[in-house]
Symmetry: C3
Subunit: 359 residues, 3 copies
């Protein structure tokens, strides 16, 4: 398995990208991320075309990113703008610049054919622009596992009672079984909503929402290929309209944006932004929720890394169970995209070969 | 070089295997060792057939070993007994279970064809069941070297004066030269006995046995393929019948069971049980001997790891000297076993091919 | 890229080689370096022909280097001189001995065909024998980069204003531009001299030489293939004959011998000897200069290691700029030598094949 190239991935959180260049391997390529003097975030191939030094050891100047070996300097589009002591600069000195979009608190990179990069397809996430309603805390973990193993994990709630039974998975098991599950395929992946009606709220919910009795609780997950999982959960006093009238006012609401970005074929970056839509006036609210959920992410990562180690050695068999519906949809979508990219590359190669034959 | 598959190896000491699963690579396979609720030691392939998570991250339940990713549970024979939320469980969900025998203070695993596993061929070691005469202390070291390099090392005493000259190899060199050496091939390897008659006892012997003068000293080693070396040494007042009448009563006696188990092609586990057959009433007797001998094992391991590094890069030449008789026997036996296994696999493949041709 | 085999490389500084054997990988071979009882430095293949143990785990005896596994002992020429308990020693027990020359404070090794080793071709460096004029301090760094990347770096001064701008590269940039550069090809590599006339001396120079005004400053570098770079720098009061009459008396003078020795295809040892030809009576003079220059070596190594990582993954393209003249000469010389060695090996193989055909 490899990764989808023609799409947007989160490359970094905005505060990670500064005038001090940052080296990060993305989609199996060495990339250098930095801000130029205008504050614009830029991603270049992290290899100087002169003698191959990493540009991430260089520095930002007024002219662009300067290689600190012999001073060649590159603009945001990868053009070589300075060769010390030399007036003529050949076009072959330019390097690959990756389409990069900073939007709604994310820095998105396009790892495939730049001609196909269309910023309008980037997932819309207006909540990041509404810090008053949705205070947030962002984090990142490096995971020694393929990004789709993390997506599999997120698009499945059955693992919670096992892997997370000492953290978020505790509680009255029979009530979880009664959950109403509504899975759905989407043009860009799959989603599901899961409702626990008349449900005993977990301790964290009671602490957060001050519930006196039972609640109606929702868990909505959406995968937007390749690496995004939008999660929206919360609860409200039972029978007060959350489920039947979609009226969630007065309850507690949580959003997490999970973004998985391939580093290599067997590792990824896991970016997450946690947002607490309650008691927004207290800065500790979000902080505490973030720290609590982080412990479950650590549990996830331990399993994903173990799983990757086994799958690297023994890729098959993998057997589906009754709970794998959404995961299977997600994977089929992913494989269809991979197959499409492979086909397009073949077509491109064939059409190039036929032009050569005509020439 | 690889390893003999159809035989028993020590997988662990009994106290290493508990309800908390233990991951150990044995014979190049990821194995999970645990005790089920009945106390029975079990070895399964450490890979869940669902999505490949390591079962060693799971836990023992009343039903068996539960994968802590999505809850699939396996019995001691590898059968899948639970798939959460699903009644029908297909036979293809089962995993490999390794024949495992707990006996006389060892846990033995069979890494080859389970149909050939015959527990009656396991080395008999009754001394482990006689803690009164033979108090013991067990240990284990991980060695970055093929298990046969450790067997070579144990079936040779000439290295003692060199590698161990600062530990057990000191003493009057000329008396060592006079040793009576009786090597012998056996159906399952080789053995030798070595007698030092009218010999100045080393300090450790004097301390242990309170000898006033010279002793007759024996060193008996037996290799039982593939990975076992039984060592029996001791000494007694010179000329009191140890050598000529095999009467060893009244002397000091020591036994070490060395068990070498392949982890990978270039690493192994070195299990050892040291037993002191004297001053058994003092618990420090065995403890002290174990700690003293451990220092020589550390010296052995340093050389074996260096040797493995060189042999991985330059496997040949290897030249035999006059002292290599027993080592050569041991290796020939090992190679004959390997060749036999390779032949059997070919025959099996051929007969399968011919049944297919007939079908 | 690989390395030139038929030439001399610095193997170690003399004080590194003692009766305690030293393991060092040189030219992709495991080598053991030691001094025999006569004080002679010896280099042998670090692998016992008996069972492959590293000889570097052995010890020096009166007879030579003893393998501490089973006692085989080897003379300085690689002949096996002792096999314990055995009178006849076959010639096939001998191991490779590398031509080694200790001279002028270097230990030089020949990694290629011993028949071609000619000690008269070793670089002459009489300054090492004149400690009164040239006090020295020697050092060594392990570099995860091909040795020629370090040679490239040393034979180029344009990187100083970028890579070393926080250490030795500061100063009035316009004066550096006015430098007179005289590059030259040589039979064994290339050299250049660079003169900064009527130049503001850097702070270190003022401290060292007590200059009151401007100086004439020289920087002479010579590459002697494969791995040596001789560096001679200094300064003297402007217009007092250093440039036009080659009269450097009364100024300050510095010499560094840089020696790069291949360890593997992507790593090397960087030996350097720094010598201060001024205020020789104060032992701190040399010490302080060495420590100051060491900081720039650390900067070099960071870049060379980054460059190696990129070139291992993406060897091309590499594009030349106007400043690459000397580097290109150095590389062409190196490639011609490599090509010549490859040709000679083919010829040798062909002539061996034709003798066999005739026989
Ligand atoms: S390697 Fe970047 S400028 Fe030379
Ligand atoms: S991977 Fe084991 S139950 Fe899913
Ligand atoms: S391996 Fe060196 S003497 Fe045996």
């Amino acid at each position: 398995m490899t990764f989808i190239r023609n799409d947007w991935y989160v490359a970094a959180w905005p505060n990670e990208v500064t005038e001090k260049p940052l080296a990060r391997r993305l989609g199996n390529q060495p990339v250098v991320l930095y801000r130029d003097r205008s504050g614009r975030a830029v991603a270049l191939h992290d290899r100087c075309p002169h003698r191959g030094a990493p540009l991430s050891l260089g520095e930002v100047t007024d002219s662009g990113l300067q290689c600190n070996y012999h001073g060649l300097t590159f603009g945001a589009d990868g053009t070589c703008v300075i060769i010390p002591g030399q007036d003529r600069i050949s076009a072959k000195n330019c390097i690959k610049s990756y389409p990069l979009v900073e939007k709604q608190g994310f820095i998105w990179i396009w790892l495939g054919d730049p001609a196909k990069a269309d910023a309008s397809t980037i997932v819309d996430y207006p909540y990041h622009d509404d810090a008053k309603t949705w205070p947030r805390k962002c984090g990142m973990m490096h995971v020694k596992g393929h990004y789709m193993l993390m997506v599999d994990n997120l698009m499945d709630l059955t693992h919670i009672g096992y892997m997370h039974k000492n953290t978020i998975g505790s509680g009255p098991a029979d009530e979880y079984v009664k959950a109403i599950m509504k899975p759905e395929r989407t043009p860009r992946g799959a989603k599901f909503s899961r409702w626990l009606l008349d449900h005993t709220p977990p301790a964290t919910y009671v602490a957060a929402g001050g519930f006196k009795g039972k609640v109606d609780r929702w868990q909505e997950f959406e995968h937007v290929a390749p690496g995004n999982v939008l999660m929206y959960t919360g609860g409200k006093d039972a029978g007060t309209g959350a489920y039947d009238r979609n009226d969630r006012e007065g309850g507690i609401q949580l959003r997490i944006f999970h973004a998985l970005t391939p580093e290599t074929d067997t590792s990824c970056f896991y970016f997450f932004s946690t947002m607490t839509g309650y008691r927004q006036e207290d800065p500790k609210t979000c902080e505490q929720y973030h720290d609590a959920i982080l412990r479950t992410f650590v549990e996830d990562v331990e399993f994903i890394e173990g799983q990757q180690a086994r799958l690297s050695e023994f890729p098959s068999p993998q057997i589906d169970t009754i709970h794998d519906t959404v995961r299977v949809w997600v994977r089929r979508h992913h494989e269809a995209r991979l197959a499409e990219e492979a086909r397009n590359m073949e077509n491109a190669a064939a059409s190039e070969a036929s032009s050569l034959a005509r020439a």
